[in-house]
Amino acid sequence: MSAVQAVDLKRTFRTRTGLLRRTAKDVEAVRGVSFRIEPGELFGLLGPNGAGKTTTIKMLITLLLPTGGSASVLGHDVVDDVREVRRRIGYVFGGDRGLYERLSAYDNLRYFSELYGVAPREQKARIGELLELVGLTGRERERVEGYSRGMRQRLHIARGLLHDPAVLFLDEPSIGIDPVGARELRATIGLLKEQGKTVLLTTHYMFEADELCDRIAVIRSGEIVAEGTPTELKQRVPGGRVLEVETYGVPEATVASVGEVGGVRSVAMEERGQQQVLILQCEPDAEVTQGVLARLGGVRVGRVVSREPTLEDAYVELVTRA
């Protein structure tokens, strides 16, 4: 039995505008997503903002009803067996919110222990173990409002693990955390994997997904466009190479025209301080540098680097492909 299974999962939202003359519009957030996560597996769900990652997770954790398809967690249907699903899952999301600011970390964990039905005799020991696991021992009596973002995020994870769930949903847990905090968080997630937890992780950080995930699904516009191990996904950029061009003040129209150069499969732009780095996925043997520089015309250009594709390149290729 799979730990998590989604079959042709769909979710459409109806939005209404206007006060007197109401007009309704249907938005398909998730359009038939299917995947399986095996017990003990760490599965990544990657995709750009608005791709449907959080909506998919919300359906799996019973916060939203699917408008089509089905899903189950450890054999329990997310629509019909709501309480059974809730007993078996932990849910952690990223960001500052979602904790009781005026309570201490310890009291936050105590309160959720009650809600998750952790036996009173076990609560103290369990909370102690989890504080140790997430590295908050000694700080547990402080109010959460004084915590750093990284500490809050680790407290979120401890909260999600209180009832020792078999399946954990981590929705962008490392968002906005500094590099040291993010590294500690990855170490914590790695420990969960060692403990045999099944984890569904969404993240925008490709190196994080590459380091942690056994398998990854890439979701774009509500549909899964690729699924496989990180290595398999990297191989999705077949024999290609990547050209990175540092530019300063490149207009959008010029970026689009660079994508039309022969041998260029796709182009994405990344802001790095004052620079805009163009990341070009290229055909294996194509000589594109001259053509690209010609299109850039009067734009100031810095370094031009050619390299092998990474998971991030595979991701960019997948989500920008028409």
Partner: protein, 261 residues
């Protein structure tokens, strides 16, 4: 056992979590000075207009002010969770909803009772009000019933917080309705028939009448009918609140209403 713990311990912790920001410098003026001011205002209006006596206004307004914690705290206990993004996490727990939300009402009832009793005591100390000694225990009980009944209405308001964010604004409107329709400053019998009829279906109305009778020397047996009616009205709003909570939670799953403004 789990549900009992969620009701008592969870309710108290949730109350602390939502209202831990209230330090005494805010709490004392809002829950002590304000009701006393309201009592004094209406008592002196009554005196200068030559209608009613101090006791009428003290009991009416003291009980009416219990509505502030009962309505606003109950609304905030759910609305505040939504603002703090903890509601989604709470709703993904397997905790049974009735003890989860009713437990939050318990500290609110005690809070409302305390506010009302401070008002009554202030009236006795500052104005020309005499409550006979034997009446105090029964008045304490009736005020508790009023507070519980009003918290039922607060629960219904809190349920609405699952759908809309403006429960504080709604709380002001409801407080005003209670002030006018419940016989706080004008006896229900002196209100137009339709207003009196509306008042009969609102919390506080029967408890205010019962407390006035007790202060005038009636026994608990004499006002038993009024107390039972007050309890009935409170139970009605509590059931309505729990049903609304269930309905809005289901609707939030169907229509993603928790994510909307």
């Amino acid at each position: 056992m789990t549900s009992l713990r969620i009701f008592f311990i969870g309710g108290l912790m949730s109350y602390r979590a939502m209202f831990g920001w209230l330090n005494p410098w805010i709490l004392v003026p809002s829950l002590v000075v304000s009701p006393i001011c309201q009592i004094l205002l209406f008592a002196f209006i009554g005196r200068s207009a030559g209608v009613g006596d101090d006791e009428f206004y003290v009991i009416g307004n003291a009980l009416n002010y219990a509505a502030i914690p009962c309505l606003f705290a109950m609304g905030a206990t759910i609305g505040g969770e939504r603002e703090g993004h903890t509601l989604g996490v709470v709703l993904t727990t397997p905790a049974r909803r009735i003890p989860l939300f009713l437990g939050r009402a318990l500290p609110v009832i005690v809070n409302g009772w305390g506010v009302a009793m401070v008002g009554v005591l202030a009236g006795v100390l500052l104005l020309d009000v005499h409550v006979p000694g034997p009446a105090w225990p029964t008045i304490l009980l009736v005020v508790m019933v009023a507070s519980a009944s009003c918290t039922g209405l607060g629960l219904a308001m809190g349920a609405v917080a699952l759908r809309v964010r403006e429960t504080a604004v709604l709380g002001n409107v409801v407080f005003c309705v209670l002030l006018v329709f419940c016989g706080v400053n004008i006896a229900v019998a002196d209100l137009p028939g339709w207003m009196g009829a509306v008042g009969g279906w609102l919390p506080m109305t029967h408890a205010i009448e019962a407390a006035r009778l007790l202060a005038d020397g009636s026994t608990l047996g004499d006002v038993g009918g009024l107390v039972l009616r007050e309890l009935g009205v409170g139970a009605l709003y509590t059931v309505a609140g729990l049903s609304l909570l269930r309905w809005f939670e289901d609707e939030s799953r169907r229509k993603a209403t928790l994510d909307r403004n």
